[in-house]
């Protein structure tokens, strides 16, 4: 009886092992096993900040040596080091960038021309006469960006402005895409000079719309290295190619605070700090 059982199962095993061996020879698709490993080491946020359609695609490229591990902006330095070590490659260097908001017009300083009624999203409000906000360029404060940020880096102040937590921000670009007013841009964290206004109306008339707007008075441009700041377009524009020449003095005579010397989080100089900022 035991022999019979041995024969049956052994035979079955044999037959199918032969099948599999044959199929294996003919059909095997080779895939670098390190892709799985690297993929498992990635955060699996599939955020796309690296410019690839997901973490697995990143792993494929990383294993292929086509992208540096540090291009994953979400992983911390330690993890990136591990991946680089595993693949035996240079981690590459990442400059810390964060999302910056080109508007400081909270509800306390910016004028609201008409009452908006409808969906509470910036996207929808933009379609309705610009949401009724006095400034056609400014932040509507319905927090589309906050919802878009998968890393919880954005929180809204009591005045309805989004504050980016520079620690949490991974420069994934989601908020940049989400904001219908295109107010966010990714900036190098160490670049301190920043203009937080986009209103193109010239002159002091703009203050009717918002008291922290850029009036194009040109004082910043005068106080800065030549060619660093220009005000011709209706708002102060910084030429970041010359950012090395920037100094804090350029911001000191700004009558409204539209241009500022930023260290860390934005809105450090906005007088009425929201509770979340203060903490």
């Amino acid at each position: 009886m035991i022999l019979q059982a041995i024969l049956i199962l052994g035979g079955t095993g044999l037959v199918f092992a032969i099948f599999i061996a044959a199929a294996n020879k003919k059909l095997k698709v080779w895939e670098d096993p390190r892709i799985d490993v690297v993929s498992a080491m990635l955060p699996q946020a599939n955020c796309g900040a690296c410019g690839l359609p997901g973490c697995r695609a990143f792993a494929e490229k990383a294993v292929g040596g086509e992208i540096q591990p540090s291009k994953c902006t979400v992983s911390n330095a330690e993890r990136i080091g591990e991946i680089a070590h595993f693949l035996g490659v240079d981690a590459g260097q990442a400059v810390k960038r964060v999302a910056r908001l080109a508007c400081a017009g909270g509800s306390n300083v910016a004028m609201q021309r008409a009452e908006y009624r409808g969906l509470n999203t910036c996207e929808a409000a933009t379609a309705v006469a610009g949401g009724g906000k006095g400034c056609a360029w400014g932040c509507l404060g319905f927090a589309d960006c906050e919802r878009a940020c998968t890393f919880g880096a954005i929180s809204m102040t009591a005045e309805g402005l989004p504050v980016v937590d520079v620690e949490k921000c991974t420069a994934c670009n989601d908020c940049v895409v989400a904001c219908p007013k295109q107010l966010f841009s990714l900036q190098v964290l160490d670049h301190a000079l920043f203009v937080q206004c986009k209103n193109l109306v010239h002159g002091d008339g703009v203050l009717e719309q918002c008291t922290v707007a850029c009036t194009t008075c040109g004082k910043c441009a005068l106080d800065a290295a030549p060619g660093l700041i220009s005000v011709a377009s209706g708002v102060a524009v910084i030429n970041y190619d010359k950012i090395a020449e920037a100094e804090e003095s350029a911001t000191e005579r700004c009558p409204t605070g539209a241009i500022l010397w930023l260290r860390g989080a934005q809105f450090a100089r906005v007088p009425a700090l929201s509770s979340s900022e203060a903490a």
């Binding site: 092992a17 599999i20 086509e66």
Partner: protein, 228 residues
């Protein structure tokens, strides 16, 4: 494409097995199966037996015992043989090993616990295909040393038991008014038959997930309170 220049060769002592779990203290291997990688509640594996035999606690216990037995034995063996088994026939070999232990437990159960064996019916042989066991063999036991494999298997087994027995106890108490066949609420209790039928199984499982979800939400809001 650019070739990779390798300066830092991987650690020579333990060859890197693709997808191998990172080294960990042993108790964590054990604990994972009970908590954060609970096979039923988190990984959602082995659901069929969790539903099918969980209409009474007795069944749940019997099933759990069989699963632990098979899980531990096969993990041990798979781990021992991990260097012998060629990758191409990995699955087939694992299944052979598992099926052997399952058949053993089935036969033993038929011989010594005939009544239980009858109520569990085809779900004992079906342990073979319980996704947990193969999953563990594939994801863990086949890649680590035997001690870790057994710790992990045992943890998974206990995790499965906890989940299954909780579900089973709940279903039996509400659906039949009894626990391990002892009446709990007196003779006039109107049992909710619903609970011991298929929809009740899904519902109970759903309730467990709801409780977990509620707990998770609570934790989240608590954390939010601490760091405003």
């Amino acid at each position: 494409m650019t070739a990779i220049h390798v300066d830092a060769a991987p650690d020579a002592t333990e060859p890197i097995v693709p997808g191998a779990p990172p080294p960990q203290p042993l108790w964590l291997d054990f604990w994972r199966g009970i908590a954060e990688d609970n096979p039923v509640m988190i990984q959602m594996l082995g659901l069929c037996p969790s539903m099918a035999v969980s209409n009474s606690l007795e069944n749940g216990i019997g099933m759990s015992a069989a699963v632990i037995f098979v899980l531990v034995c096969s993990s041990l063996l798979v781990s021992l043989l991990r260097k012998v088994i060629p990758g191409e026939v990995r699955l087939a070999s694992y299944i052979l090993i598992i099926a052997t232990f399952v058949t053993i437990s089935d036969l033993v159960m038929q011989a010594y616990f005939p009544a239980l064996s009858k109520t569990l019916g085809p779900f004992v042989p079906l342990i073979v295909v319980n996704c947990i066991i193969l999953g563990r063999a594939e994801a863990f036991a086949g890649k680590v040393k035997p001690v870790r494999a057994v710790a992990d298997a045992f943890g998974m087994g206990v995790g499965f038991t906890l989940a299954l027995c909780t579900i089973a106890a709940f279903r039996e108490v509400v659906g039949n008014g009894t626990l391990l066949n002892h009446p709990l609420f007196g003779p006039n209790y109107e049992p909710w038959n619903f609970m011991i039928m298929p929809p009740g199984g899904f519902l109970t499982m759903g309730l467990m997930f709801l409780v977990m979800g509620w707990w998770g939400e609570r934790q989240k809001s608590k954390r939010a309170e601490v760091t405003p």
